[in-house]
Point group: C2
Chain length 191, copies 2
Amino acid sequence: MGALSRAAHALSFLLLSLLSITADASSLCSKQGSSLVRNISEATQSDFGRGGLAHITVAGALLHGMKEVEIWLQTFAPGTRTPIHRHSCEEVFVVLKGKGTLLLGSSSMKQPGTPQEFGIYANSTFSIPVNDPHQVWNRDEHEDLQMLVVISRPPVKAFIYDDWNVPHTAAKLKFPYYWDEECYNAPKDEL
Amino acid sequence: MGALSRAAHALSFLLLSLLSITADASSLCSKQGSSLVRNISEATQSDFGRGGLAHITVAGALLHGMKEVEIWLQTFAPGTRTPIHRHSCEEVFVVLKGKGTLLLGSSSMKQPGTPQEFGIYANSTFSIPVNDPHQVWNRDEHEDLQMLVVISRPPVKAFIYDDWNVPHTAAKLKFPYYWDEECYNAPKDEL
């Protein structure tokens, strides 16, 4: 192969790489609503930096232009859990596979306190009282816990607690949330 | 058996029947939110007068006190379909089993007109543009079509079209909707 040919080869490789990067960013964050019916099996799935989580935004504010509801498909590997957190939107879970525990703290005391525990299982549903601190935990040693999660008022604005004794006022806002980080365009400062 | 004994027997039967009626009405319409985690397999399922439909309100405004989102589990027998209808809330479908067709009319003409057709299938998702007239149809001859349906702003206020050529202004409000009829307490007239 001559030098020119090698250069052309290198350039075409670079161009292809750039195209591929563009396509990736586009598939992650562009409005994916151009096709009305979408195959969930082909949707982007990631742990978004949380080991043991597989998250898909089935219908979302940032990805699909939803304004009032958002739906996630989430799979938790054995032993993994959500942070302890609260939000002022409604949230409903439908458990598709596996089993686990819902831990639910109080919003009426100064801090969540010792949480109540509820068993959750395939074909069960539960909704989180608005603003109650909670955590969903796959305590099983072998089986994944898979759930459809529905929230109102997307994108979610969650306050995270390091433990159940952190005062509500000290919980830290995590916004945009893990899966919204890459696709959220912060409004520009108005001066 | 003496007359008194027969009367007592009849009375206790009547009381038991009344208790049973009360229990039924209660299980259909009382806030079922007292248990935080509910088994969907044990939820009330009915066709609500629409042959071939099996509807379960997984989390609802009237049944469970939801204010911003509502979730249904619906199964359509082969050949059955929803009415042609529209509503001003968001609606997302997640297809769990089977396949079918989404028919989608226009909200920008005087009437829906000839609808666009979209194939829907297990593991697909789609959302209905707010106020677009639509119909979901299980055209398969053998298999059920099962979907989770999420709406915002419950309970749903739907306008029904007899066919695709009915003007939008002539579509008829059906409120409360089929599964909300028994549990909806109309606000009293204020004079």
